[in-house]
Symmetry: C2
Subunit: 345 residues, 2 copies
């Protein structure tokens, strides 16, 4: 073996400085239009636990069969992986279920942004006649009949009587913990050069240079603006959703939707508000043509798809809650009960 | 303070022997017709994990919406807490969903015992036209299109091609871990005198002395024999289930069902094969009159119900699995697809 010459103190110091310099350079966070997802900060764990129970509790629905998790399944990217969700009595959902993951980062909730935040959103499906098809009054009466819930609401909200605001607050608090940090793309954003491959990086460069990033930016790679579906070329669909104009009443907002997050997009197929695009390849192709007036080559499309798959983060680890047991006074739901009020078509 | 006289060595030894004797007596397991549930022994954790994924995977159903957990919900005592389950296209289930908890201890599976074990059972709902309404071929083809599953089946079963036997084997392996040890009653059985109250003990004494235990015995407090529903007095119902005669072809078995477990019965309302009894009070009253020819007083009924609630054990702690992602080749389920074959009425 060759004997190494001992380094002088000065040479050693220089080498160390260089190494530290490289290290700092390698780990320097990148300044990009997409920012990393940060882990959830849980400040009220008891409320999160209560919200989790409500999230999985089908007794919030008329039938006793459908829970929040039915259509925003935390085993499947917080979505249901079907174009239109199944609602009460197998009614067809009005729009593709958006993922609950990272939804807390969105500018507003629902595709048309009609709810300003998660709590505002959470009350919607409970009363929607084609979703859970219950009423806030019925849902609260059920919870009030369950001693385990009464105790938890009392301990957290200091109340004897549960109301829907506490229910949606607890749900929203749980949902706000459903974020997905540590995707490979986020590691790259934080300075780990090896976290994504050359092909994935090329895909990201294309994503930026061809304009996708104009709408899909921020920590959620989307979710922070409204945009017309079909900017350059009209989107052809027989789906009835009219988009943001239903909220604003402005004709100019017709077919304008909240830009969906691309976080975990590998898990949240099918795509678009009508769930018409079955694969990422198809979605990228349609977006390129309709929004950007550009037809991606097969190779470009594959590169962008490869990049999109780096946006899958750590999925929330959820221990299934054991739901508080109904009392003898709790209404016994009957999914097959005769229809009293007519359902919305 | 009074000064204590030091004990002689002999007195100390005698006192110790007495204390140890009391201790031994207090902890001596009881010899009773119901035996404690033992914790699950997991010998193949990878197979349990695969089975858990399949358990929660709605892609085993035609619609992509119904999983095993839909009707045997592990948040709700392994049952769905409705009289009749919701199946594909909201069809009404043929019989009340029995709990999956401790089902491994049953003599056979289904109310009529037509499946000899859990693996034999697991294939049933997938193909049942009023339940998941898929076929084994379709379910396996879906799994085979999902790289994450292909890899797991290969690693566990050493196969490239998945078949339904491996699917049901993995499901059964997971289900066999779903046992509920450490109920208060089991602690009492193991010698802890303070684990149940005097009222609960009175309830258990009544449960034995009036004959309930004749059918509800063994570790599962049931599940180990078939018995006619309506021994002393006929059970009046318009429910079409005919019971064990559908399996044996013997008229004598008409209206004979597997005796359900009473483990976690507090969580598995409503009761009986038709789910007609909404509360334990009602179930105990009907059972007393129809099976034993006895009308329990209100006090006796309450005592038995109190005892039954001591049978709730530790519920399985389940971390929700993250399901392997579909590939572009995976069939995209459509809950609302036109009906091709006629459904069973």
């Amino acid at each position: 073996m060759k004997k190494l010459k001992p380094l002088s103190a000065a040479a050693l110091a220089a080498a160390l400085a260089l190494a530290v310099g490289f290290q700092a350079q390698a780990q320097k966070p990148r300044d990009e239009p997409i920012q990393p997802i940060e882990p959830a900060k849980v400040t009220d764990p008891a409320k999160v636990q209560l919200g989790k129970k409500l999230w999985f509790d089908p007794r919030l629905s008329r039938s006793g069969f459908i829970s929040c998790n039915s259509c925003h399944n935390l085993s499947m990217g917080g979505s249901d992986n079907v174009a239109a969700s199944v609602g009460d009595r197998w009614q067809k959902g009005g729009i593709n279920s958006p993922t609950v993951l990272n939804a807390v980062l969105n500018i507003a909730q629902f595709w048309d942004g009609r709810a300003k935040d998660l709590a505002d959103q959470a009350g919607g499906p409970i009363e929607n006649p084609i979703e859970m098809n219950s009423t806030h009054a019925a849902a609260v009466a059920t919870l009030q009949s369950i001693p385990g819930y009464v105790e938890e609401f009392k301990s957290i909200y200091k109340v004897d009587k549960i109301d829907i605001k506490q229910v949606t607050d607890a749900l929203a608090t749980f949902e706000s913990t459903l974020v997905t940090p540590n995707s490979r793309f986020d590691k790259w954003l934080k300075g780990d050069n090896k976290a994504i491959t050359d092909v994935e990086l090329k895909g990201y460069e294309l994503f930026k240079s061809t304009g996708c990033v104009a709408c899909h930016n921020g920590p959620n790679a989307g979710g922070n603006m409204f945009m017309k579906m079909g900017v350059v070329q009209a989107y052809k669909t027989d789906h009835p959703a009219e988009g943001r104009s239903a909220v604003t009443g402005n004709e100019i907002d017709r077919f304008t939707f909240k830009v969906p997050t691309l976080r975990n997009v590998e898990l949240t197929y099918p795509y678009f508000h009508d769930g018409a695009a079955k694969t990422l390849t198809e979605a990228v192709d349609i977006m390129g043509r309709l929004q950007l007036g550009r037809t991606y080559t097969k190779e470009e499309n594959a590169q962008i798809v490869a990049f999109l798959k780096t946006l899958t983060g750590d999925q929330p680890q959820i221990t299934l809650p054991i739901l508080p047991v109904s009392s003898d006074k709790t209404p016994r739901p009957d999914p097959f009960a005769p229809i009293v009020a007519p359902m919305k078509k």
